[in-house]
């Protein structure tokens, strides 16, 4: 009998997702899918609102990376108010926004790696879910857990200083920012209040996190290299000179061999290069590069893609780590799913160095905050959010109300790669498996987690995967459904 395994919910991306895996009579994986089963509607209900509300309104899409949406929308509205396409702001405004963004990258990546992903690494993906969570990490490695919490706190403090509050601030407004830093705020972030929350400590801890990962990698090379590995294209913003730049740049994509397939294009023209495919079983679209078509034009975004696309990292310590990362694949694009964590930690170090540099820059204390010019009817804002390229596109009427919004978020770009990752792991783990264990199903979530932490938050928060396993017959009729009762998943499918 055909068997269908459903993992639902995988908890939040910006809502709910589920995985279905179809096993054929012989026990092979016939089909696997990651479904995003929730409709958000932000593109619709921002319509008819005044354009200056967009950066504040659309950031409510997310509580983990609202700064990314806040800044992407603000960048789009910069274009609308005639403040240029990303490089027209005053030095103070641009640097305050960059500081906000690097604070966000730093806190979000720290949250993801330590709170969400590290339990799988520390304890193993098939360990007891009762300890495979952030509390387990705290009990097993108190120092690491404390650093993780304080690193996240530091990033949040940087956001609060630049955006007004830690979550859902208002700092970026069309044409600039509404505040710069006071000398007291700058000193507190740069030097700390006598405690460990200062810029130098963050750089040191970021290096420590990388050392932790590399040590783990040395001991578990086969798993880290081999888990859910598949070739893909890679997309990211890069600075015009090819440097890693998470705030602004041009769009570049490379294929699995490193050849340019999108060559440093102005993102105001993104619609000429991208298309989105709709599939009936998911609310999330499948974007692809128009020139390559939907079969071959899909790509990865996020830390792994960014380091595959960029030529160098413009801060010295992260550059050194980048060189080691590139050397691991002989300079070729890295297609190893779990290496995303390595790339993420290099970005954590880059963010720490960037924050320290910005805090030492007197421009962040300036008072020229806003630039405006000739009003435009449309604007596109793109930023590298923690999880990847984030596109905001708005059209604004002469009455100042938003007429159209198109948001392509990082998770959407990663839709096809995440589906492939699920398929990879399902084939490796479940094919002809006599028993389907909780660990096997968690392995599927481990692959998804490498792309997007929002999908895994509840799982680790409670130490249990909130999954439900359903058995369907070959005509799709439900035969049996069982929610995981407690720590141990018990297979009770009726063949």
């Amino acid at each position: 009998m055909t068997r269908k395994i459903v993992i639902e919910p995988i908890t939040r991306v910006e809502g709910h997702g589920k995985v279905t895996i179809q096993l054929d009579d012989a026990g092979n994986v016939a089909q696997s899918r990651l479904h995003i089963v929730e409709f958000r509607g932000f593109e619709r209900f921002v319509q008819g609102r005044p354009y200056w509300e967009a950066p504040v309104l659309v950031q409510r899409l997310c509580g983990i990376c609202p700064v990314s949406h806040h800044l992407a929308a603000a960048k789009a509205m910069d274009v609308v108010v005639g403040a240029g396409t990303g490089d027209g702001l005053t030095p103070t405004a641009e640097k305050i926004r960059r500081l906000m963004h690097y604070g966000q990258i730093f806190q979000s990546h720290s949250l993801h790696f330590f709170h969400l992903a590290s339990p799988d690494l520390l304890f193993g993906y098939d360990s007891d879910p009762a300890i495979r969570n952030v509390v387990g990490v705290a009990l097993a490695n108190r120092e690491l857990a404390t650093q993780a919490i304080l690193m996240r706190k530091y990033g949040q403090e940087v956001i609060a200083a630049t955006a007004g509050k830690k979550i859902h601030g208002t700092g970026a407004i069309p044409g600039g920012v509404n505040k710069s830093l006071s000398a007291e705020e700058r000193d507190r972030l740069l030097k700390g209040d006598g405690g460990p929350l200062n810029a130098d400590h963050m750089v040191a801890w970021a290096q420590g996190a990388l050392a932790f990962f590399k040590d783990y990698y040395k001991k578990h090379k086969a798993f880290i290299d081999g888990f859910s590995r598949f070739p893909s294209n890679h997309l990211s913003l890069v600075r015009k000179d090819g440097a890693l730049d998470l705030y602004h740049g041009v769009l570049r994509a490379v294929d699995a061999e490193g050849r340019r397939i999108l060559n440093d294009v102005d993102y105001q023209e993104y619609l000429e290069h991208f298309r989105e495919e709709v599939r009936s079983w998911s609310y999330m679209k499948f974007p692809f590069l128009k020139a390559l078509g939907k079969e071959n034009g899909w790509y990865r975004v996020g830390p792994l893609a960014r380091l595959n696309v960029a030529d160098f990292v413009p801060t010295p310590l992260a550059q050194r780590e980048f060189e080691a990362f590139k050397a691991a694949t002989g300079g070729k694009p890295n297609d190893m799913c779990m290496h995303t964590h390595w790339a993420r930690l290099i970005e954590v170090l880059h963010a720490a160095e960037s924050m320290r540099d910005l805090l030492r820059d007197p421009d962040i204390l300036g008072n020229r905050l806003i630039v405006k010019g000739k009003r435009q009817a449309e604007g596109v804002g793109i930023i590298e959010a923690p999880r990847g390229t984030l596109i905001h596109h708005f059209a604004v009427g002469e009455d100042d109300l938003i007429k159209m919004a198109n948001l392509i978020v990082s998770t959407t770009h990663n839709n096809e790669p995440m589906n492939r990752a699920v398929n990879c792991v399902a084939r490796a783990m479940l094919t002809k498996a006599k028993e389907i264990t909780e660990g096997m199903l968690n392995a599927i979530e481990v692959a998804i987690r490498a792309y997007d932490p929002c999908l895994s938050c509840a799982t680790h928060a409670y130490g249990q995967m909130p999954l439900e396993v359903s058995l369907f017959d070959s005509r799709g009729r439900l035969v049996s459904r069982r929610r995981k009762p407690n720590r141990r998943f018990r297979q009770d499918l009726q063949d």
């Binding site: 005044p50 200056w52 409510r60 108010v81 601030g169 505040k179 806003i370 009455d399």
Partner: protein, 231 residues
């Protein structure tokens, strides 16, 4: 020289100029009576009822009541406080008040009163009315979703000819306050700003100028509304 009268506020004997508005007289005596439709310098209306107090045991709106000799006023009985909280809750349920994306958040009197009265969510069923955003005016946006029809704008904003810039439209439960196309034609930036400032909520906003006051410097970021009069 003005003559003074003696009256009591919650049992405390106070002095005020004869004929003074009760809200203002209470403020002078260090007693906060919450208001929404009342605004200093414009004629009171008694529209929102949130300033209801007991005058000699009878409920009356403090914004339309003048102080007289021997008046005994109760401002803070449990019933009055519950009633005021209900007024706020009803206003939240009646309109579409979405504080997270409203640029008046932190500067909004309705939101500030909700915090003061600890309104977590309205117990009344939300009506989710379908309302328009009026954006044809070159300097102002009138967001009807947020309008509480306090009429402060109608009473307080006049053009250079002394004509009201805002006016009622429609009737009954469909009543709206619109920008008058004729009288608002040539309003100055200063008057547009005054219109935004006189609105207790975010129903009147200036074009192209949102969120320019950072969090931390907004009116109610640090102390609850009324705490400057009475903590």
């Amino acid at each position: 020289m003005a003559s003074f009268v003696r009256f009591t506020l919650d049992g405390k004997t106070c002095l005020a100029e004869e004929g003074a508005q009760l809200v203002a007289a209470a403020k002078e005596s260090g007693v906060y009576i919450p208001t929404l439709c009342n605004y200093p310098g414009i004629p009171p209306k008694g529209a929102c009822r949130i300033c209801t107090v007991l005058v000699n045991g009878i409920p009356q709106t403090a914004c339309t009541t003048k102080v007289v000799e021997g008046m005994a006023v109760q401002t803070r009985t449990p019933e009055l406080e519950a009633f005021r909280k209900s007024v706020v809750e009803i206003l939240f349920a009646e309109g579409n008040h979405l504080c997270p994306s409203c640029e008046r958040s932190g500067n909004c009197e309705l939101q500030a009163l909700a915090y003061r009265y600890r309104v977590a969510a309205s117990p009344f069923p939300y009506m989710f009315p379908k309302r328009e955003v009026e954006a044809w005016h070159p300097k102002l946006v009138k967001d009807h979703n947020r309008c509480i029809q306090c009429k402060r704008c109608i009473r307080g904003i006049h053009n250079a000819d002394g004509k009201a810039v805002f006016a009622f439209g429609k009737r009954g439960d469909k009543v709206v306050i619109n920008i008058d196309p004729e009288t608002s034609k040539d309003i100055s930036d200063e008057l547009a700003q005054r219109a935004m400032d006189i609105c207790p909520v975010g129903a009147i906003i200036r074009k192209g100028k949102g969120f320019d006051v950072p969090i931390g410097r907004r009116k109610y970021d640090h102390a609850p509304i009324g705490s400057e009069v009475q903590p």
